[in-house]
Amino acid sequence: MTRVSPDTLVAALVLLAAACAPALLAPYQLNLLGRFLALALTAMGLVLLWGQGGVLSLGQGVFFGLGGYVIAMHLKLAGLAPGETMPDFMVWTGLKALPVWWNAFASPVVALIGVVLVPAVIGAGFAWLMFRRRIDGVYFALITQALGLAFATLLISQQAYTGGFNGLTDFQTLFGVRVSSPAMQRGLYWLTVAIVVLVLFGGRWLLATRFGRLLVATRDGANRVRFLGYDPAPYKVIAFTLAAVLSGVSGALFTLYAGVISPALVGVVPSIEMVVWVAIGGRTSLVGAIVGTLLVNYAKDQISTVLPSFWLYALGGLFIVAVTVAPRGLAGLIRRAERPA
């Protein structure tokens, strides 16, 4: 008898709900849902890297930000009025001409490639430097956290190039279509759902390959794997790079939904929040990560509306509950209920 695993069941429910949502939700609510689904891409990347690979990154905000800023740079350039040569904040900060590396993203196609390629190259380079030197565990987590802090600080300090503390906002058009138009919003939602489905099934496939097995093997016994003749570094570098790319795409989509990207969205606190979504959803389950992201962000939205200052306490409380009561998150609870051992 073939049994449907709880993961597959939940995945089917989530996707069904996502498919029905445009017919049922008001535009603002649909925007929120799309935004949360975009964030779930970052969470799925963390499942791969942290849940399966055992590498905790507290710096996913960096790659989220790289994707977000790349698409935002394009949007700023696409929104220039005739006669303007550079975005208004550059004029205010006294810049004489548009920097060359900004100009590259004037083309939407280059920007879309950049959303994938910039996080991939930086993520792979960083991971290679770290894992080649066998830096992992707590040390790796702390270095990624420092990276997140440095990235946010850099963005704030380089106001002429990055828009500083306010980030980049006030977007007009993408591919000639107004970003705020219903058609664009709806298209964006379906694009997000499509990418989520692709990553969900792609991720499941990847984890079932020998690569996936070796990733778990490296998590459980890096030394055993090494002394069986495998070099663990390439597996970790690939997992880190994939997670970075997913964060980049996630950040680009989020930027389109939210209409803004700023240092406050990419620094230390957002990076930790990303880990919390996954911890609550279940760090070894791709579907669990989606559910965790949706629930935590919905709760954040609701709680912040009523009691803006209370959210961080609620988040901390949720994290403590997840770690003590359900170390494998919601997915772990469901799997355990289904298979009482």
Binding site: V216, Y230, I238
Partner: protein, 248 residues
């Protein structure tokens, strides 16, 4: 010894901040031989294994495998040259099934070949063969973490053999096993000798007797004496180092 030995440890010293775990150790393993290394606690047995497989680097001296100095190679390259080791505490991959453990041990080491679900036929055969050999055939779908201590030992021995390496280092392969299991382990190891070269570290003299190979006694990081088990056992100096009596 006529042929050049498969592995030669030449004047290897391992210095842990002034404590010499190995002190100018010399040892040669002829191809296809079985060598048992015994010695009191702290004699340097495990450090010797660690040094051969690159977990610990010699402070001085060389380790020569098939004529090549391997003492500075990265660990996975040492395995690629043909040396695999079983650890003292079972080092199975607890999050994977018994079969997956075996497939990884027998499988392709190149990471760029890892993006597929298909397992090479030779790898699958090798894994099946080893599972049958170590008696874990019916446990193949269990998680390795759920095995008993003895079963984990068997699995790891199987994995080390499945690696296809020419030289196998078995660090206390019978720890936690009963007498019957120990005997089966000895039979399994004896069956490997000839096609593979085996170095066994163990405390259990009964087990070493069942193995019946060449015995080397290690003491204070250096080779104390060697010979057949009966020769070693009849040596009064060996008894004195085990009992901790001062050497005269």
């Amino acid at each position: 010894m006529t042929a050049a030995p498969l592995l030669r440890i030449e004047q290897v010293t391992v210095d842990f901040d002034g404590f010499k775990a190995l002190d100018r150790l010399d040892l040669a393993l002829p191809a296809g031989s079985l060598t048992a290394v015994i010695g009191p606690n702290g004699a340097g047995k495990s450090t010797m294994c660690d040094t051969i497989i690159g977990r610990v680097r010699p402070t001085s001296g060389r380790i020569v495998f098939r004529g090549e100095d391997i003492s500075r190679l990265p660990e996975h390259r040492i395995v690629a040259r043909g040396i695999c080791r079983k650890f003292q505490t079972p080092g199975v991959l607890v999050g994977l099934s018994v079969l997956d453990n075996m497939l990884i041990a027998a499988g392709d080491r190149r990471w760029w070949h890892a993006f597929g679900r298909k397992v090479a036929a030779t790898t699958a055969q090798q894994a099946d063969k080893m599972l049958a050999l170590v008696g874990l055939d019916d446990r193949r779908h269990a998680l390795a973490g759920e095995l008993s201590h003895g079963e984990k030992q068997w699995l790891e021995i199987g994995m080390v053999v499945a690696s296809g390496c020419e030289l196998l280092l078995l660090d206390e392969p019978t720890a936690g096993m009963g007498a019957a299991e120990s005997r089966r382990t000895a039979e399994l190891i004896r069956a490997l000798v000839g096609s593979q070269t085996v170095l066994v570290i163990d405390h259990d003299i009964d087990f070493v007797e069942q193995l019946g190979g060449h015995v080397v006694v290690l003491h204070q990081g250096t080779r104390f004496t060697e010979g057949s088990l009966s020769e070693v056992r009849d040596n009064p100096d060996v008894a004195s180092i085990y009992l901790g009596r001062a050497q005269s």
